[in-house]
């Protein structure tokens, strides 16, 4: 769209934004983290990244390989359940060590091992696990104590009440929160902008009645609506997104409406109309690009709001359906009376959400400053 083209004013604002170090670096960190989180499957997963087994390379990240593929068998004698990559890695390491031992004895038993162990035909087998070798769903009950287990070398941030890796859940939760927030912002901003623009541009009856409607709509209690809707619809990310969007578009209409009201009286708008430009052209080519300041400056704060609300809803249990990795759900676990002594459960999502929200807020403040620089003067 036209307004995405960078005019010098926008370029200047962006330059100004870049100069505000705190906000700019926060923005970079957020973008980098978000991009990294888009590849979460390669970072936190209990499926190996790459397996080199008997001369063949496997990339199990998104593919199901049965145990049979790697000559494994589970305790019940099945080999078509999903391969155990942790186990495979250990087995290979053990076999290698044993082979090495036998080689040292020079008694030929090394060769025997090679022959007798069909799963070790080649010495160069290896398994590359992701940095965090756990996915956010699979419980790890390998500890003596029941979960939640405290942080250690295996689970850097410990496990949650169901033995799931907290770090993995934080990572996936970040991706979900950010994606959700961004999608929400795009949807509600677009919708709100269109409605608000029409209100401001058309004015008159449309404005009057839509404004009354927005005022009434705005008084609906969001949480109750969510609770009621969960009774009619299966709660899902899509449904939550729609419900959030239904309430979130209101805010921006106020600003777009006022901006439009103000801008449309400016003479360049009259000029465009005077040579017969259509209303759509006037609105979207001329007015909208000049009304974007609130849109841009509010976006970070909307993101903050969206992340926060989503976390709050998850915390209350009306958010994303289980077992979706979610910060709110982790905080809920952490704050349950059972887990009050398991501080990693509440502290890590708390730290994550604070960190993210602070970064977004820094970005927001800087964007606002960049778009609307004001110096506070005093008189002597």
């Amino acid at each position: 769209m036209n307004f995405l083209k960078l005019d010098p004013l926008m370029v200047k604002r962006l330059q100004r934004f870049r100069r505000i170090k705190r906000g700019y670096y926060s923005f970079l960190i957020l973008v980098i983290l978000f991009v990294i989180s888009l590849f979460s499957e390669f970072i936190a997963n209990d499926r190996a990244l790459i397996v080199n087994y008997e001369g063949k390379l496997y990339f199990p990240t998104f593919k199901f390989y049965p145990m049979a593929e790697f000559g494994q068998m589970d305790e019940y004698g099945f080999d078509d359940v999903e391969a155990d990559y942790h186990g495979l890695k250990t087995e290979i390491a053990t076999l290698k060590a044993e082979f090495k031992d036998r080689m040292e004895t020079w008694d030929g038993s090394a060769a025997e091992l090679l022959e007798s162990e069909p799963r070790f035909q080649r010495k160069d087998n290896w398994v590359l696990m992701p940095m965090i070798p756990f996915d956010p769903y699979e419980p790890d009950f390998s500890y003596d104590e029941p979960p939640p287990n405290a942080p250690d070398g295996r689970h850097w941030l410990g496990t949650d009440g169901q033995g799931r890796d907290v770090l993995a859940r934080l990572l996936y939760g970040f991706r979900i929160s950010m994606t959700f927030a961004l999608a929400l912002v795009v949807i509600s901003q677009t919708f709100g902008t269109i409605i608000g623009s029409f209100q401001g541009y058309a004015g008159g009856w449309f404005d009057l009645y839509s404004q009354r409607f927005i005022e009434i709509w705005g008084t609906l209690p969001f949480l109750y609506v969510v609770i009621i809707l969960t009774n009619f619809f299966t709660p899902s990310a899509k449904m939550l997104l729609i419900v959030f969007a239904l309430f979130n578009w209101l805010g921006i209409t106020y600003y777009m409406r006022t901006e439009m009201y103000r801008e449309k009286t400016k003479e360049y708008c009259l000029a465009a109309r005077s040579y017969g430009a259509s209303s759509m052209r006037v609105m979207f080519k001329h007015l909208l690009p000049n009304c974007l300041t609130p849109l841009v400056t509010f976006t970070p704060f909307l993101i903050v709001g969206a992340i926060f609300s989503l976390t709050a809803l998850d915390y209350l249990g009306y958010g994303l359906p289980p077992p979706t990795p979610s910060w709110g759900e982790l905080i809920d676990q952490g704050l349950q009376s059972d887990n009050r002594d398991k501080i990693w459960l509440s502290m890590s999502p708390f730290a994550a959400i604070s960190f993210t929200l602070i970064l977004v807020t820094f970005v927001g403040e800087s964007v606002r400053e960049a778009f609307d620089p004001k110096q506070y003067a005093r008189y002597k």
Binding site: F3, D7, P8, L9, M10, L208, K266, E267, Y268, L270, A271, A272, R273, S274, Y275, G276, A277, S278, R281, H286, P289, N290
Partner: protein
Amino acid sequence: MTSPILQVEDLKKYYPIRGGVIARKVADVKAVNGVSFDLYPGETLGLVGESGCGKSTLGRTLMRLEEPTGGRVLFEGKDLAHAKGKELFDLRAEIQMIFQDPYSSLNPRLPVRDIVIEPLEVHKMGTASERLDKVVALCRRVGLKEEVIGRYPHEFSGGQRQRVGIARALALEPKVIVADEPVSALDVSVQAQVINLMVELQKELGLTYIFISHDLSVVEYISDSIAIMYLGRIVETGKKETIFSNPTHPYTRALISSVPNPDPRKRRVQVAIEGETPSPVNPPSGCAFHPRCPFAVEACKKDVPALESFTQTDDPRHNVACIRKDEIEPHFKN
């Protein structure tokens, strides 16, 4: 005498005043209240009045930027006031506007090239390269160098911006240009440049201007004929010379003598007129000027005086809306 290019007949623009929750209409503001005049090709009509008199609204209503409440605007016989759709779209090309504020009249997000090319795009005139050629030519004509057309409005001074505005108005090759206070936001030295440009363009392209202004000295310079507005109505029209040498309506007289003279030796000692223009929301009865008029009589409070030909001067287009126009002493400029 040639026939008028634009005939305005009893043009009205009322704004409703709304009240209550459902915004019911409770009254009207009669911003333009029955204005009629003829505009002849190649001439400049100076439309003069003080703030709130309706002159800008009149200009915008002529442009159909405001929907007229009543009356007709005939452009070469076609009624611009009631035209719709394609007809209106085509008529728009014939009559263009120059705006007052060189800062807000140009979209700050578009470079000059895009601003000037817009009307051509909207009217789908020529190919893309023809349009661009035309834009370059237009910019040159208004005194902008070709290399600046990629720049954005904020990189220009007020005078240059107004040139861009003029180029945009000329893009569609209109016959009539409504200039709404085109120089009042400019510094004096720049004002002269813009006025000179407008005059040159008029000579060259045979343009017809409606020049809306509150500045009598500028109007006196540029206009061929003048219409004086007071509270939504025209109170006096006539050739420039007639109006300045023989102002007849008491308001015209007051207005002219209120203008400070740029000569310290000709200081006035008396104030020509007391009081201020009343609010158009609640205008006085009868002749709207009567509360301030030194010649007012009882009858002035009753009826709205018609704009009638004033025969004491030899100007056939000299019309005055005053019931005492024939009794008032002739006025000569000091």
